[in-house]
Each structure stands twice: as C-alpha cells, then as structure tokens.
C-alpha cells in the first residue's frame, strides 16, 4: 500500500518541494464550518455558521473577541484558535500597558504569522490546524486579515474559510463593488449573510447556528448571537 514518507514532521520537504504537515493543516480548515468576512471603507463584518456535534450539545463558538476593537472568526480546530486568541489578547494588553495605545492590526498579524511560521520549522509539534479571519480597527482604520497555518497573513476585502467556502468567495468576488462602497453596516451584514447562504447545502440558518460580528470606525468589535440575529436570517 502507498505510504507517504514525507509527512512525519513539518521540517522535511518532500522531493517535490512540499511540506505535507502544513498542507494537512490547510486541509483541517476545510473540514471546519464556513465563515465569511468582508469589509467596506468603514466597517468589517464576520459571519459564521456554528456547528453542534449532536442534538444534545450546545454550539461551538465561532467568533472570539480579543479586545475592545478586534476579534476573529475561525474555521478548523477550535482549541488551536483559543491558543491564538490568548496570544492576541496578550499582545493587545501589552500594547495597552506599555505604549498606552491600540495595537496596530498589521503588526499584530505579523506577530501571528511569525508564531505560525515557527511551527513549520520546528521538529516537535505541529502547525496550527485553524484558519482565522481577523477583523479589527486601529489608528489607520478598519482591517480584515486572513490567517493561515502556513504563516501567511494577508489583508483582504473579503474572504471565506471552511467547508464549501468557494461559494461564499464567488459571491464576494461578484459583489465587490456593491459592498466595498457600502455606507450602511446593516447592508454589509446582509451581504455577509448572503455570501454565507451560497455555501449551505442541507443546513438552514437559524438563531442557533448563525453568528455575526462587526467592527467599524466608530463601533467597537461586537458579536451578535442568538435571538439578536433573527432579523438577518
């Protein structure tokens, strides 16, 4: 039987120049439930589809707030995301205490990238099995970043991670003009939910499984959950 000899650790390249462990980590993101992020000039919106393992269990958290004006949605291994959330909270707090200022989102994402990259060159351990869409506000305005276990962090107008995310991405690509110039936060959220709907197969959106978050030039990072999302369904 075929056995891959180059995926035992993250530090060994395959003869074709691939790092399989890192690719598997990217695969873990695709196993996760969908999350969509998009931005206008003034706002960033995250939408996510929460999952529950069975009927008896509650829903897995999809969006984590990491400070007054930033947070992320995740797809992949939630426990890994929690480690990253703690790391972000510490960086936010450090910047607040030592410099008395809000952290620069670009700087933060570079710190995250560095942290993730390290795991791809360390023999023990594994890459983070989670992708993040980071939404935040700083002195330079609002930002949306995508984090990948490879150590890639990219700023974007819109993105989607997780199962069948391509449908969401296509929606965002086709509607870029209309939401980029969107003034209203409500409309931006509706775009986000529409993008999310493109990716659904047998699920329907309910108050239980839809999670929304937004941040704006004059709004703190806010998570909308439960009955508060009813009007967006």
């Amino acid at each position: 039987m075929f056995r891959n000899n180059y995926d035992g650790d993250t530090v060994t390249f395959s003869p074709t120049g691939r790092l399989f462990q890192v690719e598997y980590a990217m695969e873990a993101i695709k196993q996760g439930s969908i999350t969509v992020g998009l931005r206008s000039k003034k706002h960033v919106v995250l939408v996510g589809l929460k999952r529950n393992d069975d009927k008896l269990s509650s829903y897995q958290k999809k969006i984590i707030k990491c400070g007054t004006n930033l947070g992320f949605s995740l797809s992949g291994l939630a426990p890994d995301a929690r480690i990253l959330a703690n790391f972000i909270k510490q960086q936010v707090s450090y910047n607040e205490l030592v410099y008395g200022r809000d952290i620069n989102i670009q700087k933060l994402s570079e710190l995250l990238a560095q942290k993730a990259q390290k795991t791809t060159q360390t023999y023990s351990g594994r890459p983070y099995g989670v992708g993040l869409l980071i939404a935040g506000k700083d002195n330079t305005g609002v930002h949306l970043y995508e984090f990948q276990p490879t150590g890639n962090v990219i700023e974007l107008y819109g993105s989607a991670l997780g199962a069948r995310s391509q449908g969401g991405k296509t929606y965002l690509e086709n509607n870029l003009e209309s939401y980029l110039e969107e003034e209203s936060l409500e409309e931006l959220i509706k775009h986000g939910v529409s993008a999310l709907k493109q990716t659904l197969k047998d699920e329907t959106l309910t108050v239980s499984n839809l999670s929304i978050a937004y941040v704006g030039e004059d709004q703190d990072f806010t998570i909308v959950d439960g009955y508060d999302v009813e009007k967006y369904l």
Binding site: S58, K65, S93, S208, G226
Partner: protein, 267 residues
C-alpha cells in the same frame, strides 16, 4: 590614622518610595456605596498637581443609554481607590485591571437559543466580577509583593451579589476586610474616628439610659452619607497639608456609577 578601604562596605541606599499624601474614603449604604478622594498629589511640601485621579472605575461596557445619563460605570462596576505612594497605586490599579480583563473575557456566557433552561431562564449573564472575587484577587496581588510591598492603602467599593453596598479595605500587604466604612491615607487618623461615631454610632447611647444602651445600628441614606463625606473632606483640608484642591465622589447604586466633583481649598 590611615584609612582602610575594602573592610567595611560603604552602603548607599536608594529609597524606592515616596509619600504622595491625600485621603481616600469609602462608605457602604444599604443599596449604594461611595468612594471619595481628594485630587491633590504632593511630595514633601510641594504640590505636584491639583488634579490627579486616585480612584478608577473598573466597569463592564456602558450602554449608550448610560452614556446619555452621564454615568461613568454600570452597577456591576468596581470602584478602585489607592492612596499612599502614587506610583505603586497606579501599578496596582493596572495589575488589577489586567486581571479583571482576562477574568471577565473568559466568562462572557450568553444564553444559547434552545438551552434557556440551563440558565433557569435568567437574563444573559453579563461578564463581570463580584466584589468578593475582586477583593480576593487584590489580596493576592498585594501579598505577592509581600517582601517589596505596594506602599498603598487600597479601598474597593461596589455592590455585592445581593445589591447591597460594600466596601473592602486593604493594608499594603493584602490583609483585608469588608467594612461599612473606611478612610485611608493622610487624613485617616482625623476622619476615621468621626466616621466610627457617625456611621457605626460608636459612643452613641440612647438618652436616658445612663450610657448603658447603645444606639441601634441603621443604614444611613445617600444624602446623609454625602454630607458626611463633604464635611469630612472640608475639615481634613483645614488640618492636613497634603489634602485639598478638589474632591471626587463616586457613587454606585443600581442605576450605575455617578461622579460628583467639589472644589476644596487650594492652600
């Protein structure tokens, strides 16, 4: 005689503390609590500033309604006051805020649709910290520096889990107690006996009982407490050189936290 070098070490000492004066006062009422302090910061005979803030309101997010009503905190707020060496006071406040932030960020429980019964149908549990937990945390911070103490008298005020006013006071190394009232800092020895008498009715007896029957304890109203606080500060301003300039009074009740400012003598 020839001097001998190297036998006895010459000791130079750097004194890491200073006394920045001021007074801090907390009173708990039945359904409110007050924390007040003067706004002067001084060292030796110099006034550094006439407007420093020794009390910090540590609060969950305010609603726009609260802001419209000019509230500076919700009813879940912790009024955090320090008095003594101001650099340590600021550091202690920052330490506690950091703990508060991480403590509350990890328990922002929201009721999930379909799982209401788990919360017995209660409202969403806001992310906050009880006064009891806050006080215990402050003890740990202070005692953690037992051998290089934060040179401050700390007082917390807020509402307890039953909505009753409460005041916790600490010594520099973390001994603490819940009390009805407490004064810390420069004016403590002048005001505390006054408060013993006026708040806890010490040495007050029922007339005609020949000093055998004590006056029964009862809660003071907010108006009575505010009068006591203002009287206490104007008096201590007269008699203590490091107290004066301004008075900040924070009042917490079920509506939230309100700030009152009164001028004190600047001499």
């Amino acid at each position: 005689m020839v001097a001998q070098y190297g036998k006895e070490p010459i000791q130079h000492q750097f004194n890491p503390y200073s006394d920045n004066g001021g007074t801090l006062l907390g009173i708990a009422g039945e359904d409110f609590a007050i924390l007040a302090s003067d706004t002067r910061q001084s060292v030796d005979y110099s006034i550094n500033t006439r407007l420093s803030h020794k009390i910090k309101v540590i609060t969950p997010d305010l609603s726009s309604e609260d802001k419209k009503n000019k509230l500076v905190g919700t009813n879940k707020s912790i009024l955090f006051g320090t008095n003594g060496f101001s650099a340590d006071g600021d550091a202690l406040t920052e330490d506690f805020e950091e703990n508060y932030k991480f403590y509350t960020s990890n328990q922002n429980k929201k009721i999930e649709p379909g799982f209401e019964f788990l919360n017995n149908g209660n409202e969403d549990k806001e992310s906050s910290m009880t006064m009891q937990s806050a006080a215990r945390n402050v003890q740990h911070i202070l005692y953690g520096k037992r051998f290089f103490p934060y040179y401050v008298h700390t007082i917390l005020a807020g509402l307890d889990e039953e909505g009753k006013g409460c005041v916790y006071s600490f010594d520099p190394v973390g001994s603490y107690e819940r009390e009805q009232c407490r004064v810390g800092g420069a004016g403590a020895s002048l005001i505390m006996p006054f408060l013993d008498n006026q708040v806890n009715f010490k040495n007050q007896y029922i007339p005609g009982t020949n000093s055998t029957e004590r006056k029964k304890l009862e809660y003071l109203t907010l108006e009575e407490c505010l009068k006591l606080v203002k009287d206490a500060f104007t008096s201590v301003t007269e008699r203590h050189i490091t107290v004066g300039d301004g008075l900040e009074i924070f009042i917490i009740n079920k509506e939230g936290v309100r700030l009152e400012y009164h001028a004190l003598k600047k001499d």
